[in-house]
Each structure stands twice: as structure tokens, then as C-alpha cells.
């Protein structure tokens, strides 16, 4: 690495090739159009080309690549979910994540840290035991540990938690990890691009063409583009895109905020979540403390961040880690989370032929980026739902067959 850097110091033209190509003109037709160049849309493009040989694909984004929730999340990756469908799905994602740096020829800084979900009372501890048993049944590394164990693993934690809500134990998930979200998006973009996929930024889809119940293309300010298959992977904009094809869904958009402190020496090498205090924290490779809290209380289609968020977060965080009192918050931001009533995604085929949906990722979708891309690519290539995502189809709300994952959600809602 250092030699490569040194080499650049002596050459005039910067030789690192562009990570992905942006053709000057938008084509007239493609086999598949993907709306949204977030991690999910780009992963799907990559697997369409890589697994299925479909590379006449255009990924369109109204803004810049990875600028949606993909570039705004706190990058926690885990598979200790509650339903058999959820556990199988997220565990398959973890397996892909572990090899992703190699597969994408891009260092995504995948770092297994261990993940503690703290329990501050008996009822949370009971849910933790339930989750651990479900997890173990499906072969996931997950166990309940007592408060002493937490104290051993987590330096600086105040188990009495300011005297108000003592930590009684935790659900521990050893494979819990973090990764660089931008690297994931850029890695998928580069591989997709190398395989011939076109990525068009600043190209908003303003309408979707449907003829006789079948998708035929999309409308953009740069012209109309034809395609027999269109995937919506737009997270916080899903309801507006669904309206273009006349579909409704239970998805509701709520802001989710996060912040980072100034960088400090490494001291916290695990991921800490407290559902009771509505907060979570991990330390990034750069030394910043990455922190988040609950969803904002009301639906909002905006990415404004608020003072109530940081002050509320600091209140609970300093109960847990009094030593962080001197740290300064460097940045705070928000993303638009596409929430579902059962905390499971909405994926797969829809009542409109050729129109596919990858949404309902709420506060939990970064960890699903590889597997959602892979299963959506298979779904589009075969024209029917991949077995791993069948339970997540939009039709589950008509059939009252929900996939209850709320008990496994990290954060308050």
C-alpha cells in the first residue's frame, strides 16, 4: 500500500482508474432497470451480472451513489433474529459479508466485534433467553450472559447505570460485526460496472410505465427508458415510487438519526445496544464513537437532524459510559427509514408484472445488503420469488401472515 502511494507521488497523471463508469448518454432500453443506487440496488445489479449473466442493466439514482441510508447507517451486522425466516435470511447475509472483501476485490473493513444487547430488567432478560434459544435452534452463535461477563468484556461500563436501571445481563452474539458502508456500495458498483452495468447518478425516476398490467419502462428528466423488468430499491422513497405503479403498502417513513464523536484511542471493541435506554454504540476504525437512538416519533419525509436526538442520546449514554462525558459530538445526521408493521422487509414480485420490490428495510437493512441483492437478482432472473424471501412478499399483509421481528429490533420504536 505505502509503495503504491509513493508511486503516485512521482507520476503526473493520477492512475487509479475510476471505480465505475458513467456513460454520457442514457440508453433507450435495458433488460432491467434498478431504481436506487444504494447498497441494495447495486448489489442486485452485481448479482444479476455475476450470477445470471444479465448485464444490460441500468441503475438510476436521483442523487449520488450511496447517499441514501446506505451512507447514513451505523453499519451493525448480526443475525440473532427471532423468526425462522429472518434467522435463515440474515445468516445467509453474514456468510456473504464474511467473504465480501475478496468477492468484490474491495476492502470493506469487515470487523467482527461481538454484539451485546443489554437487559436492564427481568422482562428484557426473558426476551433475551427466548432469542438465544431460537437462535441456537437454528445454529446461530447466541447466548445469554450475566452482568459480570458484561463487565469483563466492556471497559468503562457502569453496570448500575447511574443507579436507575442496573444491567442484569445481556444477549451476546459473537458474530456481530461492523463494516464500511461506503466501501460496500462502491465495491458492488465497481464489480457491476466491470461486468457492463451502467450507473446513472442524478437521474430521478419520475414515473413508471405500465401497459396492460405489465411494466414497460420508466420516465426520467433525461428521457423515457424501456425495460421489461424494473426493481424499486429506494428505501425511504418507497411509497412515492409505489404510487407510480398504483400500489399501496404498509410502509411508513420515519427519520432515524445517528451521530459520531471526535476520534479517540481504541477502547471499545464490542457493539453495545440497550433497548431499555434506546441507544447503541460502537467504535469505528477511525476511533469515533458511532451512536444512535430510537426512531423519531412522527412520520417525516426529510433528513433533518435534531437537538432532542443528541441530548436524549447523551442522557442515556452517560448513564452507561460516564467516561464519555468529555467527548465532543462531531457530526449528526438522519436517514429516512422505511418501517413495516412487523419489522420484516417487503421483497419480491408484486401484482404488477415485471415490477419488483426491495423495501421495508427500516432501521435494519444494511446487514441484508448482500443477501437481498443476491435473492432479488434470482427473483428477477427467474420471474418468481427466491425461496429465501418468499415469506417477505407484499401479499403477506393481505393474508395476515406477518413475520414478527419486532422483538429482535435493536432500537426503540
Amino acid at each position: 500500500m505505502s509503495l503504491r502511494l509513493l508511486k503516485y507521488a512521482f507520476i503526473e497523471d493520477y492512475a487509479e482508474p475510476c471505480w465505475f463508469n458513467t456513460p454520457a448518454t442514457l440508453g433507450e432500453s435495458y433488460d432491467v432497470i434498478i431504481i436506487g443506487a444504494g447498497g441494495h440496488g447495486l448489489a442486485c445489479a452485481h448479482y444479476l451480472a455475476h450470477d445470471h449473466g444479465i448485464n444490460k442493466v441500468a441503475v438510476l439514482d436521483r442523487s449520488y451513489l450511496g447517499g441514501g441510508n446506505t451512507g447514513r447507517n451505523t453499519t451493525i451486522i448480526r443475525s440473532n433474529y427471532l423468526t425462522p425466516e429472518g434467522v435463515a435470511f440474515y445468516d445467509a447475509s453474514l456468510a456473504l459479508f464474511r467473504d465480501l472483501s475478496d468477492a468484490l476485490d474491495t476492502n470493506i473493513f469487515y470487523s467482527e466485534r461481538g454484539h451485546y444487547t443489554l437487559a436492564h430488567n427481568e422482562s428484557t432478560l426473558r426476551t433475551a433467553r427466548w432469542r438465544a434459544e431460537v437462535n441456537k435452534h437454528y445454529g446461530i452463535d447466541s447466548e445469554v450472559v450475566d452482568a459480570e461477563e458484561v463487565a469483563r468484556a466492556v471497559p468503562g461500563i457502569d453496570l448500575a447505570c447511574g443507579g436507575n436501571h442496573a444491567v442484569e445481563g445481556a444477549l451476546y452474539h459473537a458474530p456481530g460485526a461492523v463494516a464500511r458502508h461506503d466501501a460496500v456500495a462502491w465495491g458492488y458498483a465497481r464489480q457491476a460496472s466491470r461486468a457492463g452495468v451502467e450507473i446513472h447518478q442524478h437521474t430521478e425516476v419520475t414515473d413508471i410505465l405500465v401497459e396492460g398490467g405489465r411494466v414497460t419502462g420508466v420516465v426520467t428528466p433525461r428521457g423515457t427508458v424501456r425495460a421489461g423488468a424494473v426493481l424499486s430499491a429506494v428505501a425511504g422513497h418507497t411509497p412515492s415510487v409505489l404510487a407510480m405503479v398504483g400500489l399501496n403498502s404498509p410502509i411508513e417513513i420515519f427519520p432515524l438519526q445517528a451521530c459520531v464523536t471526535e476520534p479517540v484511542k481504541p477502547w471499545l471493541d464490542t457493539i453495545i445496544v440497550s433497548g431499555s435506554l434506546h441507544l447503541y454504540v460502537s467504535q469505528s476504525a477511525r476511533g469515533e464513537m458511532v451512536m444512535g437512538a430510537s426512531l423519531d416519533p412522527a412520520e417525516l419525509h426529510s433528513r433533518r437532524s435534531s437537538f432532542e436526538f443528541v441530548s436524549g442520546l447523551a442522557d442515556g449514554m452517560l448513564d452507561l459510559f460516564p467516561g464519555m462525558a468529555g467527548l465532543k459530538v462531531n457530526r449528526q445526521w438522519a436517514g429516512m427509514a422505511d418501517m413495516t408493521p412487523d419489522f420484516a422487509p417487503v421483497m419480491g414480485t408484486t401484482p404488477v408484472a415485471g415490477f419488483y420490490l426491495d423495501a421495508g428495510w427500516g432501521t435494519w437493512g444494511f446487514k441484508a445488503t448482500p443477501i437481498s441483492g443476491k435473492t432479488m437478482a434470482a427473483t428477477i432472473a427467474n420471474g418468481r420469488d427466491d425461496p429465501l424471501i418468499r415469506a417477505f412478499n407484499l401479499s403477506r399483509f393481505d393474508d395476515f401472515s406477518l413475520v414478527g421481528e419486532k422483538g429482535a429490533a435493536s432500537i426503540g420504536h
Binding site: 411509497p239 412515492s240 404510487a243 399501496n248 403498502s249 404498509p250 410502509i251 411508513e252 417513513i253 416519533p297 412522527a298 412520520e299 417525516l300 419525509h301 426529510s302 433533518r304 437537538f307 432532542e308 408493521p341 399483509f397 393481505d398 393474508d399 395476515f400
Partner: protein
Amino acid sequence: MKYADFPLLGRRPFTEFSISGVLEPEPAELGEWTAARWVFERTSVPRERVEWWYHGASRLWFLVRRDTGSDTILAIEPARTGSRS
């Protein structure tokens, strides 16, 4: 922090309220299919809508017209007997 003037209460911060849904007419006929839609479907696009706001301390309910694109409050009125969704 955001504040607004509430009838009966005066100027209050938003954090004192819980927001529990949208004022929407109930479907005339509730079959199994329409019931599923009524229970689950949402119109979550930026728009003006009337919401139920509950003030815990005073146990008062309000109907608040809010723009969910810009987060501006357009009107506030106390909910009365007969206000229903």
C-alpha cells in the same frame, strides 16, 4: 426544540405529545380483504394530513394538521366527542 400554541394549553414543546395515527374515514364496508387494507395500508408520501396528538399530562387529545414533507403545523384544534377516525 419545536413549540406550538395549543388551545387550552398554550405554548408547549412537541416532546410532550405522543402522535397516534391519522384521521381517516373508516371504509363503509369492512370485508376480510378491505379490513386487511384498512389495518395495514398507509399513505406515507409527503402530504398534509390531520393527526391525533395526545398530551399525557393534561390527558387532552388534539387534531393537528401537519405537512409531513416540511414538518410544519398548519392548524391545531381540540378533539371533541364525535371527532373520529
